[in-house]
Amino acid sequence: MKDIYKEKLNNLPVDIKLRAADRLKIHLMRQKYGYFSRLCLLMALIGPGILVMIADNDAGGVMTYAQTGSIFGIGFFIPFMIVMLPVAYIVQEMTVRLGAVTHRGHAEMIWKRYGKFWGAFSLIDLVIANVLTLITEFIGITIGMRVFGVPPLISSTAAVLIIASIQLFLRYFAWEWISLSIAAFNLIFVPLVFFVPHLHWGAVARSFGTWHIPGGVTSLFIYVVLANLGTTIAPWMLFFQQSSVVDKGLTVKDIRDGQFDTFIGSVFMVIVAIAIILITAGTVYGMTHTPNLDIQTILAAISSKMGPLAMRLFALGLVEAGLIAAIAISASTSWAMGEAFGWPKSINIPPLEGWKFYLPGIISLFIAGSIVLIPNAPLGFLNLTVQVVATIFMPAAMMFLLLLLNDKEIMGEHINKSWQNISAFTIVGFLIIMNFMYGLTVVFPHLLG
């Protein structure tokens, strides 16, 4: 980089300086022609989309997909996961446009546009849901590491220290690449599919024609659909990707690359989800009819059908899923708090200058890492509470997203198109109907048998 640029960069505030240096590289890349330069530009711009989608396959998600395959096999949920690809893309793509156009995070936009009440409502919901979700990530990390003989005290402490170090000591560019490198291990589930005994690809193909639901529509089925929907689109994802887009410094010129990034991420997410369902459908489905399958039972079944190496790789995937999601969720807590209260809000800020920004994320990690170590902690109850909070919050978070994306004063020419509104409202409608049906089955347990 020319010295004159370095001199000018040095005159900027520290967080803007680092972002300006990254953006200057993008700016210079954009002026070059040729396929290789275009590829370099794309590689530099991708990140938030892939990261959010892979972090979405978190420890809770891996457990949900594993239980889905174990209880329902492949009949309904393989085609269902394919449908989840456009669902995830449509929802998350909106955050790319909103972040690139406004240069503001989701929490800041809700707070400033719709007032303190809704701003505080969204922030409190997000922080509670994030802490509870982090507990499920630490459950995944400790269970996965126990397979390798590591006691929970060591695995949980090590995870808190690793994630806190990544947040505190890496600036955005390095933080994103380290996170993406950890996220790459999420693909560990894919090769395992080819070692599932007696997996009939013909049956997998036929499921797209039949959408067969073993046992019919029951409250358990609705619960599992809702759990899968909940792992595909979660409130923290909206906040995370928009803040990440803003912190990375994407502008309206980068929207197309951001959309491509989100699409690639959605594809990875669905491939991994399908792989987990296929593995557990091939190894556990039919062995037991109990809906209360825990992950240890599933790991034992994988070990007996596919061997201990496959089980260890599955456990490693579970650890990775918890780790990458904990990085993303704690970052989303920090960003949201910073945006809501007007604190410095960038991973480019050194820890001492930005301690207010980093503190909420670190505290949430510490709380979650400690709770999993409490003997006889009601982890099942906590898991249920996560889903309940997310269930109430998701339609609200989606509504704010849709209101903002239809706000011409803010979005200008990047406002939602008709097809985007129709798709998004259909998703919100489906979410509300499913939530309501699940609520009814809780209040009236014998409604669906």
Binding site: Y114, G115, M399, G439
Partner: protein, 69 residues
């Protein structure tokens, strides 16, 4: 901005540093000003729907949790 018609390709950074900073939205002054929205029409209906939805879900959650214990 000195020249609004300039594209990023035309910008010479030695001379147009300020333009680069503004175009990239790196400094707050380039952010779109956000004021509190006027809640009227279908937006008002959406907010009422949200309030009712939250209320119904909270009632269901209370009933659900009370049955657990």
């Amino acid at each position: 901005m000195k020249n609004n018609k300039k594209t990023s390709k035309d910008i010479d950074l030695d001379e147009d540093w300020e333009d680069f900073i503004k175009e990239e939205g790196l400094i707050d002054y380039n952010k779109i000003p956000v004021q509190k929205a006027e809640i009227k029409g279908w937006v008002q209906i959406a907010f009422w729907f949200l309030r009712i939805y939250i209320l119904v879900m909270i009632i269901m959650v209370i009933i659900g949790f009370s049955r657990i214990h």
